[in-house]
């Protein structure tokens, strides 16, 4: 990968009181790749995710996105730069229609001022029209076209997850963050989500996944970063990760990752 990284973390550190949740982590994310971030419970995955998403600022270290620092920015500013996310526990806007939910994702592309909105300027109308087309297209892309008119509270959990994906994509992200996207999905739903994530990467969007479920992640990710006790212990292809002795040791006996653990132990 000779192109400059889209996102690069250097010495990323987050302390909570005496606990060092993320400890001097370096990594890069490249455009169009599917990168997995794994590790046993308490390894610092979610903290790393939250540092990127702007939920909190790092204690030290840097995060550069497209060459510009983003550490210390708030969530809406990070989103404004083109990093969108999904939530592990679906967070729909419950009082809004499905299309309006997805349209909120378009927010960062909307430029019209309040006066233009009230007066109904040509530019504001064109912007709205473009956003609506994009939202409708994305609802089709994730396969929610059949339920486009259903109140979002009546969607199944799996459909709610797809809504999160469409909503994030609406912001035309350069980097899409997935927080345990397979959690709570049926195997069939997880399979469909894998296909959708591959489709996202094909559009040139970088995908960063935090995932517990190795059966979901390993066939999907092109590269995997392993964290343990806040430190990066491995960074490579899924095959290399499976054979890495440090990873095997970190995962041995981890109930939630039996599949990967056993496989890694055998290797």
């Amino acid at each position: 990968m000779s192109a400059p990284p889209l996102l690069s973390a250097r010495g990323l550190t987050k302390r909570f009181g005496g606990l060092v949740a993320v400890d001097g982590v370096d990594f890069d994310v490249f455009a169009g790749e599917i990168l997995g971030l794994i590790g046993p419970n308490g390894a610092g995955k979610t903290t790393t995710f939250n540092l990127i998403a702007g939920a909190f600022a790092p204690t030290s270290g840097t995060l550069d996105f497209e060459g510009k620092p983003i550490h210390g920015l708030g969530p809406h500013e990070v989103a404004g730069r083109g990093i969108m996310r999904t939530f592990q526990h679906n967070m729909p806007f419950a009082g809004m229609s499905l299309i309006d939910n997805v349209l909120v994702g378009c927010h960062r592309r909307m430029q019209s001022g309040l006066a233009a909105l009230v007066m109904g300027s040509r530019r504001a109308a064109a912007e709205e029209e473009k956003a609506r087309r994009r939202a409708a297209e994305l609802i089709g892309f994730v396969g929610l076209g059949d339920v486009a008119d259903t109140p979002v509270v009546n969607l199944s959990f799996g459909q709610g997850r797809l809504l999160e994906v469409a909503r994030g994509l609406a912001g035309e992200p350069r980097l899409m963050l997935f927080d345990e996207p397979a959690a709570g999905l049926t195997p069939a739903e997880a399979e469909r989500l894998s296909d959708i994530i591959r489709g996202i990467a094909k559009r040139g969007i970088a995908v960063l996944l935090i995932e517990h479920d190795m059966r979901f992640l390993l066939p999907l990710a092109e590269r995997v970063i392993v964290l343990n006790f806040g430190r990066k212990i491995a960074d490579g292809t899924p095959d290399a990760i499976r054979r890495d002795p440090a990873v095997v040791e970190a995962y041995l006996g981890e109930a939630s990752t039996i599949g990967a653990g056993e496989e890694a132990a055998r290797a």
Binding site: A53, G74, P75, H76, A79, G80, M84, R85, F87, M91, P92, F93, A94, G95, M96, D100, L103, V104, G105, C106, H107, R108, M110, S112, L114, L117, V118, G120, A124, E127, E128, A131, R167, G168, G171
Partner: protein
């Protein structure tokens, strides 16, 4: 032009009513006040029902607008146009100041802080000495004559009623357009889930302040129109109970829906006039029972009931 047609028709109808009522002083007066309540309910619906801010300062800004235009015109001697612009600017500055402080708060605490502001406004009115006229307020003024193209004329009777109709329609138009834009969606998103809204790029704090300011300034504009309805402004008119009536109007009609605010405002404004001749003071009891029943059984309000009926019986297969 088809998009403008409903608005023009509404304006024509409302102005026609103003002229129909011109010889019936009492009804004309009630019509003016009803329209102002509808304008206030539309703003409160945007603030509370759409943006989810439980802010009880809405009626205080109505009062600030009314007092500001009267004080600036008749105590400071400014031309009416200047007084209106300065009064709206005052509402905006106060709203931004209160908004910056209050939008750090949520739910119960926002309610308390904005209620304290509304109470403070009443104290300032009562203790304001010669400027506010104290407990007696300011009276004995009249809408000054306007000069347009060298001719002086005064808006009276049905003409002033028509002006109020236009204020109401302009208010409705602003909220209608904002609600159907990305801005309205951002407001609803913040109401439903501020964390997810921020993750989608919505600047939650800024949006809250903008909503608070826009709704407060338009409440102030309605207040300015009110100042020349009774030609008296005094503290009791702007008492705290009014904002709760606004809250009930929005909830009864259907929170978050423009039609709900209109229906709720008309219904609750007229209810005492219908009930009092029948059951006298017991009307307050009926009012209370209706409110509790509405919140228990129909939290989506009358507009929600209408939607259900239409879904069941109306318009064939939709």
């Amino acid at each position: 032009m088809t998009r403008a047609a409903p608005w023009l028709a509404a304006a024509a109808a409302m102005i026609a009513v103003a002229f129909l009522l011109k010889d019936f002083g009492y009804y004309s007066d009630q019509y003016r006040k009803l329209m102002l309540w509808v304008a206030l309910a539309l703003g409160f619906n945007f603030l509370f029902g759409i943006a989810g801010q439980v802010a009880f300062s809405h009626f205080a800004f109505y009062g600030i607008g009314a007092y500001a235009v009267v004080i600036l015109t008749f105590k400071a001697g400014l031309p009416l146009g200047v007084a209106v612009v300065l009064g709206l600017a005052l509402c905006a500055v106060l709203a931004i100041a209160v908004g910056i402080a209050a939008t750090r708060l949520e739910g119960f605490y926002l309610a308390l802080a904005t209620m304290a502001f509304a109470q403070l406004f009443l104290v300032v009115l009562t203790e304001g000495g010669a400027v506010t006229g104290g407990a007696g307020g300011i009276a004995n003024y009249r809408l000054p004559a306007l000069e347009l193209g060298g001719r002086r004329f005064t808006l009276t009777g049905p003409y002033y009623t028509s002006l109020i109709a236009l204020v109401l329609l302009a208010t409705f138009f602003v909220f209608w357009r904002l609600d159907r834009s990305y801005f309205g969606r951002a407001c609803r998103a913040i109401r439903d889930n501020p964390e997810a809204a921020a993750a989608m790029g919505v600047d939650v704090a800024r949006t809250k302040i903008v909503v608070f300011t826009v709704t407060s300034v338009l409440a102030g504009a309605a207040g300015m129109a009110y100042a020349f309805v009774d030609n008296i402004v005094n503290p009791p008119v702007f008492g705290l109970e009014n904002v709760f009536l606004l809250l009930f109007m929005v909830i009864i009609g259907g929170s978050g829906r423009h039609a709900g605010a209109v229906v709720g405002a008309i219904l609750l404004y007229m209810l005492p006039y219908v009930l009092t001749p029948l059951i006298g003071h017991h009307q307050a009891l009926v009012f209370g029972i209706v409110m509790v029943a509405a919140m228990l059984f129909r939290p989506d309000g009358l507009v929600g009931v209408y939607d259900r009926l239409r879904a069941r019986y109306g318009r064939g297969a939709a």
